[in-house]
């Protein structure tokens, strides 16, 4: 069953249909919020709020865009509003980075390669956090594979070409900073 069919059922009050939509897209919503908030707790709150708000405003969805795009745009706006709030600023001031670094993917490499991969991952995470928000969000949304550049343009309210340039710029900055930290490029 497609998203549009589930939306029609959910509009008629079918909570199980909306539950299926939540199951399909909650990870993308969470990651979209995480690109802005950079805190898992805040992103979790924003994702919940976005999904509940989508349920409440389901009647206003006019199917001009895909449901996922509409949903991610709600999450994006809520995350930006949350990040601009006083409490969020105070929290970032008190605990700048409370989340642990992500676990490296298990690729079956040797122990030495795993250690090297963990170090690279931690360094990349740190450099991503140092990026300005206008570069970080397009880079993470593009690398997550949750949406295309056209969908990102609808979510972030920017042109597709601008977003592609920002992703490229973000990659160049990260590579330059990693090189400054001692990583050698092959």
């Amino acid at each position: 069953m497609t998203d549009e069919q589930l939306v029609v059922l959910a509009r008629q009050g079918d909570t199980s249909a909306f539950g299926e939509l939540v199951t399909r897209h909650h990870a993308a919503v969470f990651r979209t919020a995480l690109t802005v908030c950079r805190s898992r707790d805040e992103a979790d709150d924003v994702a919940q709020e976005a999904l509940i708000q989508a349920w409440r405003k389901l009647a206003t969805f006019r199917a001009q865009a895909q449901f996922k795009t509409w949903l991610l745009r709600i999450a994006w706006r809520l995350a930006v509003a949350r990040r601009r709030s006083v409490w969020s600023r105070l929290r970032r001031f008190v605990e700048p980075c409370a989340d642990p670094p992500p676990e490296p993917l298990d690729t079956g490499a040797s122990p030495e390669d795993r250690v090297a991969g963990a170090q690279l991952l931690e360094a990349v995470q740190r450099e991503v956090d140092r990026l300005p928000a206008r570069l970080r969000a397009p880079l993470l949304l593009a690398m997550s594979g949750d949406c295309t550049f056209e969908e990102m343009a609808a979510i972030l309210g920017a042109k597709t070409g601008t977003l592609k340039w920002r992703v490229m710029d973000a990659r160049q900055r990260i590579k330059a900073r990693l090189a400054a930290r001692g990583f050698e490029w092959q």
């Binding site: 992500p102 030495e112 090297a116 690279l120 360094a123 990349v124 690398m143 997550s144 590579k175």
Partner: protein, 201 residues
């Protein structure tokens, strides 16, 4: 030996893998369950959370209505029921038929001539006994008291002197065509017309 970044050689593929790992952070497992629980709570309806308050409001409304009805009830002691209906023939003018015993205060009021007994029980209202009216009657010596008359509503008038029933009308008085019903009432009560209007109002 721990590897330092100085010894690490990386390429674009490794950087992409690292960026993809950072970007695809796993969502909390309980996120869908929490969202669906919140939505289910909303779907149940707002009145579920407000049910105790609604019940309390309904009970309070019923209680207030009961109090209001009790206070405005026409059978409250110390009140006199006045009817605006056209007066029926005085009980004394009824030639045949057994005299019915009057047991209630309302029956006393009807028999005393203060109220005109209507043929229907409609358009009733209550008039609280007025201290000024009673005191004025006392100053005027009160209405004529006849033998055998019983003071009305003795003991439950909150200090208001009881009204004395007037002398019963005779059949001859009732059959006189010149006497209107109004004159009959005035004669029966032997009080000024202003007092009658005050009572009726």
């Amino acid at each position: 030996m721990a590897m330092t970044p100085e010894h690490m050689r990386i390429d674009d593929r490794q950087l992409d893998d690292a960026l993809r790992t950072v970007a695809t952070a796993p969502a909390p497992d309980d996120l869908p369950a929490q969202v669906l629980s919140a939505i289910a709570a909303e779907t149940r309806g707002w009145w579920v959370n407000w049910r105790p308050a609604l019940v309390a409001a309904v009970v309070g409304l019923v209680a207030l209505t009961a109090i209001a009805v009790w206070r405005l009830a026409p059978s409250r002691p110390g009140h006199i029921v006045v009817s605006r209906m056209d007066p029926a023939p005085h009980p004394t003018s009824v030639p045949d038929g057994p005299a019915r015993p009057r047991t209630s205060a309302m029956g006393e009021a009807l028999g005393s001539g203060l109220t005109a007994p209507g043929t229907e029980a409609a358009d009733l209202r209550t008039v609280a006994p007025r201290r000024a009216h009673g005191s004025r009657l006392m100053a005027q010596g009160g209405p004529p008291v006849t033998q055998g008359s019983v003071p009305m509503a003795q003991g439950d008038g909150d200090g208001v002197p009881p009204l004395e029933p007037p002398a019963p009308l005779t059949i001859a008085q009732l059959q006189t065509p010149e006497l209107s019903e109004r004159q009959l009432q005035l004669t029966a009560l032997d009080v000024p017309a202003l007092e009658i209007e005050t009572l009726e109002r």
